[in-house]
């Protein structure tokens, strides 16, 4: 698939391949093209028809930013507890990458909280997460994930785009480019960042939801959980909706004329975004008005409307999914426990445990879990070694082992996949990579990851990179 216009490309070819949606409709009618129009912000995907059966229609990706420790969440390590305070075996750590522990003595650090058994399969997870424990029969826990990066920003880039270096399209952009977006009055890719009372964490950069070299209409649009969901969305007092409609229509007509002369996908983007912004003025207030949600639902998530919490964003994620949004990514920050692990971890658990489980329960009871893929993951894992350089003990960044979970959308329920060594230092069984995770996600969405490419800088660029990913067959339901 090559969508970037070149001098040799005819406008017809360019249209056919790129400027789907609003811009395409207008231009297509100029050209007498008969494909049915799409309304509002909806767009057709480039992968049509789908080569694989579609198990998941949409994705809700819960990013636990900062890197949750697998030892205090999902990977029980009794041996590590026994060895607390002793030196890590050099055979494991010699010559391996370290982030902040460089030059330090590497000492085993016991899991700080007990694990408990949950569900039919008596899966062991940390006792700080009893709600996730209560839905463990509905999720697929992977204990053998690895990543390339060991610092936050490149690790986020890698998890989001398949490349540590900024500039690639993020997965939400890829998915909307491939499948198209359904909703006419909401973006196909929505991002929300929650706030909590925790410590001041690393900022979340908008480049994490960039569309990279795909047309920028595929980028993530951030909605805010607190205050105005979209800044500067309301019209000034003296401008009516009808006036605004006239303005947007006129501006877009001019833009279309311009687009007919120079075929630039960014003009199609601009047309689409003007239209989308106009639609958002009506759709966002409806989206964020939680009066239709009964008290039981609010209690299930444990949130108050508009409190900006992760829980409120989980509820909004469900509402976005109901309204046809293809890719929803929630960020919750402050998992970067270099220090104060014991003190701070319960707070993170409190903020996310009930809400994450509520999302699964709610999707399930509404019949939406079967075709919604939910992913809960950080950008990397943490070391079995303690870090003592910043106050009370914590753990450093780590990329050779991490835990994450998926649910719905065609993955097996109640499965624990993969394992780490007895220190939890490295994944040893069914080792997975981030590329594998992306390949699996695309597979569930009906797309063959190895054939889903865009020509860029002389390469057939893919979400799954040049090293290649493989679909994690063992977790498919």
């Amino acid at each position: 698939m090559n969508f970037l216009p070149t001098a040799a490309q005819t406008r017809r070819a360019f249209l056919g391949r790129v400027s789907q949606g609003v811009g395409a409709v207008a231009l297509a009618s100029l050209l007498g093209k008969t494909s049915p129009p799409l309304h509002g912000a909806a767009a057709r995907g480039v992968v049509d028809p789908l080569p694989l059966p579609q198990r998941a229609k949409r994705v809700i990706w819960l990013t636990m930013a900062g890197g949750p420790s697998q030892f205090e969440t999902f990977d029980p390590k009794p041996k590590l507890a026994q060895l607390h305070g002793e030196a890590m075996p050099e055979s494991l750590t010699r010559g391996q990458q370290l982030a902040q522990l460089q030059g330090q003595r590497l000492v085993c650090h016991a899991p700080q909280f007990p694990f408990a058994k949950f569900g039919k399969n008596q899966t062991e997870i940390c006792s700080l997460f009893p709600h996730i424990g209560s839905v463990v029969d509905d999720i697929c826990l992977i204990r053998s994930m690895t990543t390339d990066a060991i610092n936050h920003d490149p690790a986020h880039m890698f998890m989001n785009t398949g490349s540590q270096i900024a500039g690639r399209p993020s997965m939400g952009a890829w998915v909307n480019y491939g499948l198209g977006s359904e909703a006419e009055n909401l973006p196909g890719f929505v991002v929300m960042v929650s706030t909590g009372p925790g410590r001041s964490p690393q900022p979340i950069a908008t480049r994490q939801w960039s569309s990279g070299f795909l047309p920028s209409r595929f980028q993530g649009v951030q909605l805010h959980g607190r205050g105005d969901a979209v800044h500067y969305l309301a019209n000034p007092g003296h401008v009516s909706r009808a006036q605004q409609r006239t303005d947007v229509t006129a501006i877009n007509a001019l833009n279309r004329q311009h687009d007919a002369f120079v075929h630039d996908p960014e003009i199609a983007t601009r047309i689409a975004q003007y239209e989308l912004a106009f639609q958002l003025q009506a759709s966002v207030p409806e989206l964020t008005d939680l009066r239709g949600e009964d008290a039981r639902t609010l209690a299930l998530y444990g949130c108050a409307p508009g409190d900006g919490s992760f829980a409120a964003n989980c509820l909004l994620a469900r509402r976005l999914a109901e309204r046809g949004v293809r890719f929803i990514q929630l960020y919750h920050r402050d998992w970067d426990h270099h220090s104060q692990l014991r003190e701070e971890m319960p707070l993170k658990a409190q903020e996310t445990d009930r809400a994450s489980a509520a999302l699964i329960t709610d999707l399930k009871q509404r019949g939406m879990l079967d075709d919604t893929l939910v992913v809960w993951t950080g950008e990397f894992g943490r070391t079995p070694m303690s870090q003592q350089t910043k106050g009370t003990a914590g753990r450093d960044h780590h990329n050779k082992s991490m835990s994450l979970w998926l649910a719905g959308g065609g993955v097996q329920r109640g499965l624990v996949y993969g394992a780490t060594d007895e220190f939890g230092y490295a994944a040893t069984e069914n080792i997975c990579t981030v590329h594998d995770l992306h390949a699996t996600m695309l597979h569930l969405l009906g797309i063959r990851h190895d054939a889903f490419t865009v020509k860029f800088q002389g390469l057939d660029a893919k979400l799954t990179g040049v090293e290649g990913g493989r679909v994690i067959q063992g977790i498919l339901g």
């Binding site: 049509d48 028809p49 209560s134 359904e182 299930l300 509520a358 009871q365 190895d450």
Partner: protein, 299 residues
């Protein structure tokens, strides 16, 4: 020069020879192993209807004639044969065949082509003469058609999409896998009248996503024409138990989502006789006897 008597003798001989070849055509490696692969994976674009790259692969003669770029089979040398090269490129390569992300050849199928070309790419070599070809996969039960082929009605489908502002999306690359009716983009545009207008393509629709639309009990009667419907989502519509009687003829319906509708126990009772129904969601309705309390199910 053949003398007349000789020629007369030759005629029956030729006839016999032809009969032998004809009988054998059934048993040749080409007919048994090569042609079925081309038929299944290539002829859609390289056959009577379409000749992409000016190449036809629906008979031995056509195959040997080659395409735009000349011959595609180099007898005895697979690695130098365009036919083989195209199917062994990286799947992401522009020139990879089959094009357009259609299902690629399996490694076994590639091996069959390779052995056949290496052995001389003959139309007549008997099946048994080429050793080492991977065994034929046990004949798979043909993928059951979920609905009639939608392709002959594609113009009508496009017109309805335009007129009604709904989407009718192919479920997969198999044209007999049916269509999904999507309305999530702008659900309020879809009402009873729209459902009625879909009648000409109703038998093609296997999944109807009608959540949050303006469908009412009155509109549900039109669903009786959706004879191949397997999944129906009526979440948050004004549908009530009274309307569910209209679903009685949907013998293939497997999943039904009634979340946040007006149905009650009487409605659920009406669904008892749907033979294929496996999953029904009744969360946030007046149906009793199921856990409708989210807090309870979250423990």
């Amino acid at each position: 020069m053949i003398s007349w008597p000789n020629f007369r003798r030759a005629v029956p001989a030729l006839a016999v020879l032809a009969a032998v070849v004809a009988a054998r055509a059934e048993d040749t490696f080409y007919a048994q192993r090569v042609a079925p692969i081309l038929e299944q994976k290539c002829v859609a674009c390289h056959g009577e209807k379409k000749q992409k790259g000016k190449l036809r692969l629906d008979s031995f003669a056509h195959l040997m004639r080659g395409g735009e770029g000349g011959g595609v089979v180099q007898s005895g040398d697979a690695k130098d044969s365009e036919l083989f090269i195209r199917v062994t490129l990286h799947p992401a390569d522009e020139d990879f065949m089959p094009a357009d992300s259609k299902p690629p050849l399996t490694p076994d199928e590639v091996k069959v082509l390779e052995l056949w070309i290496a052995a001389g790419a003959s139309a007549t070599a008997p099946l048994s003469s080429i050793k080492g070809a991977p065994a034929l996969a046990a004949p798979k039960a043909p993928v059951a058609a979920l609905a009639p082929d939608w392709q002959p009605r594609s113009a009508q489908i496009a017109r309805l999409e335009e007129e009604l502002g709904v989407r009718l999306v192919a479920r997969s690359h198999l044209p007999t896998d049916g269509l999904v009716l999507r309305t999530a983009g702008a659900p309020t545009r879809c009402d009873d009248a729209a459902l009625a207008k879909l009648a000409p393509v109703a038998d093609l629709i296997v999944e109807a996503e009608l959540a949050r639309t303006k469908i009412t009990d009155a509109g549900l009667v039109w669903l009786a024409t959706f004879s191949n419907l397997r999944a129906l989502d009526l979440t948050r519509t004004r549908v009530t138990s009274a309307g569910l009687g209209s679903l009685a003829s949907l013998g293939k319906l497997e999943s039904l989502n009634l979340t946040s509708t007006g149905v009650d126990d009487a409605g659920v009772a009406r669904l008892k006789d749907l033979p294929a129904l496996r999953k029904t969601w009744v969360f946030d309705t007046r149906v009793t006897g199921v856990t409708a309390d989210p807090a309870a199910s979250a423990k």
